[in-house]
């Protein structure tokens, strides 16, 4: 069994009138158990040069309804360049330059396949780093 942890630290000294300091740490485990996730696609990088939608992870390639986790980071530095994240045909949100996200993903195949997709904001070069940790 592997042990993988994800830690988030959110900090702000001036967003609110009191300081914000939030920390959460999770050990990434399988669906409904305490067994550590044992598989990963490794840290990967993709550079796009088209504003077309790309399927980053196809639900059919992973076990349905499990506790998969996806990490994404937009490696761009120009603030206007983003990746739109979609699951099946639903838009989740945009990660702008420098943004990262950690997203649970069920890889649902019970009805429409919940493929995990990205759409770059323009045809310009966009680079994304990503990793899946899965059952």
């Amino acid at each position: 069994m592997a042990t993988t942890t994800a830690q988030l630290v959110l900090t702000s000294t001036d967003l609110l009138s009191d300081s914000l300091s939030l920390s959460a740490i999770a050990t990434l485990t399988g669906a409904g158990n305490s067994t550590g996730l044992t598989n990963t696609g490794g840290l990967a990088r993709k550079t796009t040069e088209s504003a077309s939608q790309y399927t980053l992870f196809a639900a059919a390639s992973y076990t349905d309804d499990k506790a998969h986790k996806i990490y994404l980071k937009n490696m761009e530095t120009s603030a206007g360049l983003y990746f739109l994240i979609s699951i099946h045909d639903v838009e989740v949100g945009r990660i702008y330059a420098g943004d990262w996200a950690l997203i649970p993903w069920s890889a649902d195949t019970t009805s429409d396949h919940a493929d995990f997709k990205i759409t770059p904001s323009t045809n310009a070069s966009h680079t994304l780093e990503y990793m899946i940790i899965h059952e």
């Binding site: 669906a31 409904g32 649970p104």
Partner: protein, 144 residues
């Protein structure tokens, strides 16, 4: 007015070489380097519904503006999970202790973020869920 979020992913044994990813970001408005300046604060609810409940109501004025959502399942029971849905699409499940940190486009008023304690029963106890929204729309008042 900077708010930062740092993620550290660490594993010494999931692959042949260690995984150690640390990334820091400053939460900014869409397409700019201006800091996000609105927050819901940290909220806590006790979920006992097997059907979807609106955690964060989408506001059409927030369409394609920058917003970040943090949700954590604070249950200590690994089997108790929270299903996270946007616009009727299951995104994923947060098991006990799991958290997410995601962008949120609020494409339309159907893009609410909803959660359900899908396998909750009266004998399992409530699932404590904490969440926070960081966003940029001054007219965006949600989940009062």
């Amino acid at each position: 007015m900077a708010t930062t979020a740092q993620l550290t992913l660490n594993s010494g044994d999931i692959a042949g070489d260690p995984v150690n990813v640390t990334k820091l970001m400053t939460l900014t408005k869409a397409g700019t380097t201006n800091d996000l300046d609105q927050s819901s604060g940290l909220n806590r609810v006790h979920l006992r519904s097997t059907t979807n409940k609106v955690l964060l109501a989408a506001n059409a004025e927030g369409n394609d503006l920058a917003a970040k959502v943090y949700i954590i399942n604070k249950s200590e029971d690994a089997s108790l999970y929270v299903t996270v849905t946007i616009n009727a699409q299951t995104i994923g499940k947060l098991y006990g202790g799991d958290f997410l940190f995601i962008p949120w486009s609020q494409t339309d008023t159907d893009a609410d973020i909803e959660i359900a304690a899908t396998n909750w029963t009266s004998s399992t106890g409530d699932i404590p869920v904490e969440y926070a929204l960081f966003h940029e729309d001054t007219d965006f008042l949600t989940n009062a």
